[in-house]
Amino acid sequence: TVGAVAIDAEGNLACATSTGGITNKMVGRVGDTPVIGSGGYADNQVGAVSTTGHGESILKVTLARLIIYHMEQGASPGKAADKALLHMQERVAGCGGAIVISAQGEWTAKFTTKQMAWASMEGGTLCYGLNPGE
C-alpha cells in the first residue's frame, strides 16, 4: 500500500491511498484503502490522513477518521496517530501506520508494524525514515 497527504499554498488539504491488496487474498475481498474514513480522510478544518496496515483492523476502527477525531479534540497529529494506532492494537489486535498533516501544517508518520518507509518535504528539507523512532 502507498499513500500521500499534502497541504498546498492555499491551505487546502488532500489525501490519496492505493493498494494491490495482500497475496492470496480472497477474491472480492476489499480492505481499508478505498473506504472513506478508513484508508484516508481529508478535511481542511482539521487535517488529512492516509493509512496502511492490516485492512480489516483499520476498517473496524475507521482509523483515518479516528485520527481526525482525536485532532478535533485537540491532539497533535503525532499524539492522535499514536492514540488511534494503540486503540487498534488493543481492541482488534491490528497493526498499521498512518501519515498525517494538520490544517496548521504539523505533520507526522507513525506505525506499529516493524517498519514503514516514509518521506516528507517541507521548505527545502527532505525528512525520511524506515524503522521506529527515525
Binding site: D8, N12, I22, V30, V35, Q115, M116, W118, A119
Partner: protein, 167 residues
Amino acid sequence: MKPIIVIHGGAWAIPERLVEGSMTGVKRAAREGFALLESGASAVDAVEAAVRILEDDPVFDAGHGAVLNADGDVELDAIIMDGKTLAAGAICCVKNVSNPVTLARSVMEKTDHVMLSGAGANQFAASLGIEEVSTEELVTQHAREEWGQYKYSDAVSNLFNMEAAHD
C-alpha cells in the same frame, strides 16, 4: 501557507531486498510532489502525482507491483479526497489499470458517486479511454513466486506482525 507533502510506502515487515528501493521511491515521490506544490499545484494534484509515482514503481504493492489474489489475478483499490470540499473518489477490485488513484480521482470529479467497484469501475475506466494493461505487466516475477509459496494466514501474520488473519 507553506506547502508540505508526506508519503508512505506501506507499513509492514519490509524484506531486505526491498528496503533500498522503498526508501528511494518514497523520497522521489516526496520531492516530485513537493515540486508540484511549490509551482502552485493543488494538494489534490500533488497527492495524485505522488501516488502515481509509487504505483509505477514495482517495489510497491500498488499499480505495477501489485500482488495476486487467490485466483492468481490482480485486484486494485484506491481513494483520493479533497479536504476543501470533502469530495472523495474511490475504486475497488479494479483490474488491468496502471494508476488506480487517477481512476479514483475521475470517480470524484466526473461522477456523482464516491466509489465504483469491479466490473463497473473497469467499464468506467474504458469509457474514459484509460488504456488497459495486462496482468502480466502489473505483477512482478517475485509476486508470482510468492503467490505459489504463501499460505494465506502466514502471509498476514508475517507482514503485519500479528496473529489474526482476515475475518
